[in-house]
């Protein structure tokens, strides 16, 4: 069952433009000139219930514009849009009871008051009865480990602690879809990981559909099952995260450490990125040389102390898509 259906969605912004200089300023005052910017061009996709979708792209690609249209904040300029069977713009209020939103840079907590007060307020705003609200707060407090934070004014929380409270706040009304716009921006590795785990847990336990935009390759690789890549307002890729990795960087990174000094003569398809006598970092083009072949060759060298095989980081994958290298990534 699809919970989000988007067909030929468009968004055009009209912005005022002005050339440099005093004369241009005067001219702009008398006769303003507008320029049309197409932020989202004819995009179509559907999201199934319980899916975890990453919506990725560089700055200004149209990610946030799309999320804002899906949550009823922005009017689309054209196309069709349905979220949980509702039209987000027409049924914004009705829809708001069933979706949760976290905008990484905008807080929904009261800055000077402890999070518990904001939770109570959100409970009232979402018409959650007092008993259910208390139960829900207890649940989320335990799950998100908020006991020590609940009564501390938000201004005294660290960014990581605050985001944990933000995500919890957006889940109070048990939404069917959670929209996360750059939720891990500015967080350190450990906190990022804990936020990711929480999002995954919510998906597993409650079947919450997750729609996530991010710059962070880790968010996508570690959380999402499917990725839509958007650039200049157009979808340039829509496929499982696994396939995305497979198609767009047919490479594995191998780090190897030897017990005895080695001089490596690499076979075809393997590139020596970095090496010393006791260690090496290799990049394997799996289309030419399979991992199996590469490992056999390495072991055959003798004296291997340690091997680590890694997928290339998501940054590289996205960069290669944007650079238009596509399947020819080398």
């Amino acid at each position: 069952m699809s919970v989000i259906e988007v067909r030929n969605l468009n968004k055009v912004y009209r912005t005022r433009i002005k050339e440099a200089g005093l004369r241009a300023s005067f001219r702009a005052l008398v006769r303003p000139v507008y320029k049309e910017v197409q932020a989202v061009k004819d995009i179509s996709f559907t999201v199934e219930k319980g899916e975890i979708l990453a919506f990725i792209g560089p700055n200004g690609a149209g990610k946030s514009t799309t999320i804002k249209m899906l949550t009823g904040i922005l009017h689309p300029s054209g196309g069709e849009l349905s979220v949980l069977g509702l039209n987000p713009m027409r049924d914004r209020q009705k829809l708001s009871y069933h979706i949760g939103t976290v905008f990484g840079q905008k807080s929904q907590l009261w800055f000077h008051l402890p999070p518990i007060d904001s939770f109570v307020l959100l409970g009232a705003i979402y018409d959650i009865d007092k008993g259910t609200l208390k139960k829900r707060i207890d649940e989320l407090t335990e799950r998100f480990e908020l006991e020590d934070l609940l009564k501390t004014p938000v201004r005294k929380l660290s960014l990581g602690q605050r985001i944990r409270c933000e995500v919890a706040a957006s889940l109070l009304h048990d939404p069917e879809i959670l929209f996360l716009d750059e939720p891990t921006i500015g967080l350190d590795v450990v906190v990022k990981q804990s936020i990711r785990e929480l999002i995954l847990a919510m998906n597993r336990e409650r079947g919450t559909t997750i729609f996530l935009t991010s710059h962070d390759a880790g968010d996508i690789a570690k959380v999402c099952k499917r990725a839509i890549v958007i650039d200049h307002g157009q979808i340039i890729l829509d496929q499982p995260v696994k396939k995305l990795k497979y198609d767009y960087l047919n490479r594995k990174h191998i780090a190897v450490r030897f017990e005895v000094p080695q001089h490596l003569e690499v076979p075809r398809g393997v590139k020596l990125e970095k090496s010393s006598q006791m260690a090496a970092r290799l990049s394997v083009d799996t289309r030419i040389c399979s991992i199996d072949e590469a490992m056999r060759w390495l072991i055959a060298q003798g004296g291997v102390a340690d091997i680590t095989v890694e997928d290339p980081p998501m940054e590289e994958i996205i960069a290669s898509i944007f650079q238009g290298k596509g399947g020819e990534a080398s």
Binding site: G72, I73, L74, R92, L95, S96, I125
Partner: protein
Amino acid sequence: MRALRKYGTVLRLSLQNAFVYRSNVIGGFLFYTVFIFVFFNLWRAIYREGQVAGYSLTQMVWYLCMTELIMFGCKSNIYGQMNEEVKSGSIAYQLNKPYHYVVYQFFNAAGGMLFNLIIYGILAIILGMIMVGPIPGFRLANLPFALISALLGMVINFFFLMTLGLTSFRLEENFAFFLIYQKLVFMLGMFIPVEFLPGWLQGITRCLPFPYVTWAPARLIVAFSWEFFREVLPVQFLWALVSVLSALGMYRYGVAGIQAHGG
């Protein structure tokens, strides 16, 4: 019932939030006291004896205490906040919540306004008593009616300022309108009672919303009469309605064309 709980909680939280700004209160107390003291001396110099346009010196000083109190009670920064929220685009993030943005903002500000009204009210009474003593002919039983008028005045002021703030949806700079509004409220009823104005101007002033923010309630406190109450209350209701409708209209007009970029 649900709406009552929803906005009631907003009001309670905003009241709680008002207690955070303690240093603001101290600064405000100082400003209020200096302002009243300066004008107390001015009026003392003007009044040799008797009355001016029906106000005795005692009434005049209390009038000033009350109009200034209502202005402090009205202090909500709603104009600045609307401007900021519209220009920064953060208003967009509040649209997908199940509440009415305009109503939410009113209750969000109401806590702070109520808080101000109470604490500056205490200061106003102390200052008035010290400078000129009790208001002649004041009856506590009439106070609730004057308070209704004061609350209506605050509503009128709040929603007109909100409307002005929300014009930033379409105007790049609206500060001039804010200044004009502020000065009109100050000159037409706050600084001096409407009765002090020349006859022709009085006629015009009574047709405008500005004196109904402070003049009507302050006069009801210093010189209560049922006749005046019956005369001004319907007008205040009317202006309150106009102000609320104008804020709602401006909001709808603005939101229809909202353009929130990036994020």
